[in-house]
């Protein structure tokens, strides 16, 4: 079961989300997301229903991976911050302890300077929470939800969609 990334600590998960909310409000951003390096969404600030979070996760992770590859070619370990400037909407992307990716979407109602300042503050909180999460993950016994799955359970997954 080493090929798994567990997020079993709901308490810490909600702390991640509280910090995402706080960052969104304090920086006057439109939305904040936290994803892992494979593009899976870990949490988001409130009122993000209008965003296609799954696709944003996959594309941001691809983006970070590609620029990471570029960094390696240039002899850098990684680029810790990426910024994409659009006509109206902008995206600020930063790495959390090299493991998670913090995404902030904002527009002209704030400034890049404020976003950078608030992101810096939040990164420290996320880094602390990540340490806490990893510490707890090595302690608790997690329920193995796969242990008594039958072939029928797997077949039933496909009862919907496809043929």
């Amino acid at each position: 079961m080493d090929n798994l990334f567990w997020f079993s600590d709901e308490g810490i998960l909600s702390k991640f989300e509280s910090e995402l909310d706080r960052l969104k409000i304090e920086s006057n951003a439109k939305a904040t997301f936290l994803i892992d390096k494979n593009g899976q969404l870990i949490g988001s600030s409130k009122n993000t229903e209008s965003y296609d979070k799954t696709s944003i996760g996959a594309l941001v992770a691809g983006n970070v991976a590609a620029t990471g590859g570029l960094a390696n070619l240039l002899g850098e370990k990684e680029f810790s911050i990426l910024f994409h400037e659009g006509e109206n909407e902008h995206v600020h992307i930063s790495l959390v302890s090299g493991k998670l990716i913090l995404v902030v979407i904002f527009d002209e109602s704030t400034s890049l300077g404020l976003i950078r300042l608030r992101v810096k503050k939040s990164l420290k909180v996320f880094e602390r929470l990540l340490i806490e999460l990893e510490k707890n993950a090595t302690q608790g016994d997690k329920e193995n939800i796969f242990s008594d799955i039958t072939e029928d359970d797997i077949d039933n997954l496909f009862d919907i969609g496809g043929k």
């Binding site: 079961m1 090929n3 798994l4 799954t54 996959a58 691809g62 496909f158």
Partner: protein, 193 residues
């Protein structure tokens, strides 16, 4: 790397379609996308060149049913098949839970199949994965074309692990869902431990 979120009760797994250029990886995803209930799929993203060759990857999230109260979602990716996009292929394999190797059945693509399979092994190794143990399914595509290699020969050339393999015509949907179902099964069986 599978991702289990207890708070939202979701399991997410990553499947990568791998194979030589123009073997039909994107066609597999496109068929799945076209035939899946809109409520179960997210947007299909294709990062392609102007000539529709995959530049970085195709991506499609697919929601399936539930297992033990956990919603199961598969994230399907393809890699660019062209030889010179190796850096992109490496990046996309990162975190993969399972691989579908799509082989082109045409006689004159056999060398490309073998090169791509070797390339898969090397790129998996760079991420610390082993082609001998990772969930793997083979798909022999383009079975409707003339001048194709007999399945027996494809099996001898590629299926040294004796994994499940499927004959396919991806653009017509033949073998596409069978392949997807099988790799999903392999991944869940591996997660069972």
């Amino acid at each position: 790397m599978s991702f289990i979120n207890y708070s939202t009760r979701e399991i997410n797994c990553k499947i990568v379609y791998y194979g030589p250029g123009l073997c039909g990886k994107t066609a597999n995803l496109q068929y799945i996308y076209d035939k899946t209930d809109p409520n179960l799929k997210g947007k299909m993203i294709s990062l392609a060149t102007e000539t529709d060759r995959t530049l970085f990857f195709d991506f499609m999230p697919l929601k399936l049913g539930e297992i033990k109260g956990f919603k199961v979602r598969f994230h399907l990716y393809t890699v660019p098949g062209q030889v010179f996009y190796d850096a992109s292929r490496k990046l996309i394999l990162k975190g993969a839970d399972g691989v579908v190797f799509v082989a082109d059945s045409q006689v004159d693509r056999m060398d490309a199949n073998l090169d791509s399979f070797d390339n898969l092994r090397d790129n998996l190794q760079e991420h610390g994965y082993d082609l001998d143990t990772i969930p793997l399914v083979l798909q022999y595509n383009k079975r409707d074309l003339p001048d194709i290699v007999p399945v027996k020969e494809l099996e001898e050339a590629l299926n040294y692990r004796n994994v499940k393999s499927f004959e396919a015509v991806a653009i017509k949907g033949v073998g596409v869902f069978e392949t997807l179902k099988q790799i999903a099964k392999e991944i869940i069986i591996k997660l069972k431990g």
